[in-house]
């Protein structure tokens, strides 16, 4: 069971309150009239499917009902950060080391996880005790 930090409610809540909505940061082709079938197909159907760090969109469906993003490891299931729509991740596959410095916290061997943006360190410590 995930404990997910909603960046709007500013609280950790159980997984059951949320709904995953697939890969984050997908950009709709800017000029639809001049977009090839190839580009449309890529945008609609082709997704990153990494073993490791992944940025995904979730909705706090039975809470504030807002969409936000999560950076999560698909192998360890660690949630590394959560952040509002429109913002960029601070942790990426290219710079995973940041998390050790700023520290999101993990309980129960990486399975039960708490996730907040690294700067929410105070909140993290409070809830993981």
């Amino acid at each position: 069971m995930f404990y997910i930090f909603c960046p709007y409610c500013k609280e950790h809540r159980e997984e059951e309150e949320f709904h995953p909505r697939g890969q984050a940061h997908l950009l709709r082709p800017e000029d639809p009239e001049n977009t090839s079938d190839e580009e449309w197909g890529d945008y609609l159907f082709f997704r990153d499917n990494p073993r490791g760090i992944h940025h995904e969109m979730w909705v706090h469906s039975v809470g504030c009902r807002k969409f936000f993003n999560i950076t999560r490891n698909t192998v360890t299931y660690e949630i590394l950060e959560t952040y509002p729509m429109g913002e960029q991740p601070t942790i990426t596959a290219d710079s995973p080391e940041i998390r050790h410095e700023q520290g999101a916290q993990v309980a129960d061997g990486g399975w039960q996880t708490v996730g907040a943006r690294p700067e929410n360190k105070a909140l993290n410590e409070e809830t993981s005790s």
Partner: protein, 416 residues
């Protein structure tokens, strides 16, 4: 290969069953093969078997990073049916069902295929309309399928709660009598033994770590046991297909999710058939050992953890108790997960790629076990001829750019 028979059983009894031949060899990798199959699951092994037996390509290796059948093949809930909506899918799954019928004889290996029938329940008016439409489409394609009423359902599966007290009362079902279940391990082992006996090298504990590609053509694979050459490579790696594709510089429209199953303590025979429901989202059958075999949906998020999440177990069991209230006290013995590669249109990919000689067979999602013999057969034909078999052709990766999707979400809606 030593053939199995009643006589052999008696003969070996005198030797206290200590002298049975091994089912397959454990050879050292050769430097080169005509065809390499990556992935020793049911589909990969079936491909190798048909390649060697039917298409005469005997210099074949199956490369498996773990043990044969250790992937989804031996983790699935073993349901075999062919009542899919669209012509393309109907042809593919029905081709498979035809092969299932003779498979034990063909392989000289008991895969315990049991045609006990499958019920797909409807709980709403819309469910019933979808069921009507699918049954009609099935019949036009020569697939046995009928709509049954709650009273008929009660005769088929007496313990199902067809009363109006249920939260989602059962309004009817589709019924495919020729569907059923098969023993999943035996399917992998039977194909492995058959392939081996036709000269196929089964290389276990061998992991493909990259591809040798030059001028857009595949030349072989890198493995943890050295490089192995082949001009034709077929990847059949289920949940890991995305990872392999990335190594070859190819993008696939796949997402990998955990899908889980549970089995209960063994019970006396109580279920006659396989019952599944898209609406309350669960399905159940009873194994020959007596345990209830239960499954439902995938975790909604990407994951490579082979256990699945707890909330999904809870939803699954809610659905089972909704359909069979009498199971509410049954204890669950074991739970596990597999990694399934899901496709946007809930249909598999059997395809060439932009790398010449490199083929993928993947994206079976939650429902590929039923397709094992059919998938292996048409994929083998495609690899042998260098042209996709007519049954496989509509499942090309191109469809995600041409728009010719085969939308099977309705028929594949519940995980199976």
């Amino acid at each position: 290969m030593q053939r199995y028979s009643g006589f052999g059983l008696v003969k070996h009894a005198f030797g206290h069953h200590e002298n049975w031949e091994r089912q397959w060899r454990n050879p050292e990798p050769k430097k080169r093969y005509d065809v390499i199959i990556v992935g020793g699951g049911g589909h990969g092994l079936a491909t190798a078997y048909y390649l060697a037996r039917e298409f005469g390509v005997r210099n074949v290796a199956v490369i498996e990073k773990g043990w044969l059948g250790g992937g989804n093949t031996a983790r699935n809930t073993t349901i075999v049916r062919s009542n899919y909506l669209w012509d393309e899918a109907g042809r593919l799954y029905n081709h498979s069902l035809d092969l299932w019928k003779g498979l034990s004889q063909d392989l000289n290996y008991n895969v315990m295929f049991s045609q006990r029938g499958v019920l797909n329940l409807g709980h709403t008016l819309q469910d019933m309309r979808d069921i009507q439409r699918r049954v009609n489409a099935n019949r036009l394609n020569g697939i046995d399928s009928e709509v049954v009423t709650p009273q008929q359902i009660k005769e088929i599966e007496p313990e199902l709660d067809i009363s109006n007290r249920a939260r989602y009362p059962i309004m009817g079902a589709s019924w495919q009598k020729s569907a059923g279940v098969a023993r999943h391990d035996a399917v992998a082992w039977g194909f492995a033994r058959g392939a081996d006996s036709h000269g196929v090298d089964l290389l276990q504990n061998t992991e493909v770590t990259g591809f040798k590609i030059r001028d857009g053509k595949v030349l072989g694979v890198h493995t943890n046991r050295g490089d192995i050459e082949a001009h034709t490579v077929g990847c059949v790696a289920a949940g890991n297909s995305g990872v392999l594709a990335k190594m070859a510089g190819i993008k696939l429209p796949l997402e990998s999710h955990p899908l889980q199953a549970l089995v209960s303590e063994p019970l006396k025979p109580i279920l006659n058939t396989v019952t599944m429901s898209n609406h309350v989202h669960g399905y159940v059958s009873q194994s020959d050992k007596g345990d209830l075999v239960i499954g439902a949906g995938i975790d909604g998020y990407l994951g490579y953890g082979q256990r699945g999440s707890y909330p999904t177990i809870e939803h699954t069991l809610q659905a089972i108790v909704e359909m069979f209230p009498m199971f509410s006290r049954v204890r669950m013995n074991r739970q596990w997960g597999g990694i399934v590669d899901t496709c946007p249109d809930a249909c598999p990919i059997l395809s060439k790629t932009k790398v010449k000689g490199l083929y993928f067979n993947c994206g079976w999602g939650t429902g590929g076990f039923k397709a094992t013999p059919g998938s292996g057969h048409v994929f083998a034909a495609s690899l042998a001829k260098g042209e996709m078999h007519p049954i496989a052709a509509p499942f090309s990766i191109d469809r995600f750019h041409t728009g010719a999707l085969i939308d099977e979400h309705g028929a594949a809606g519940v995980a199976h």
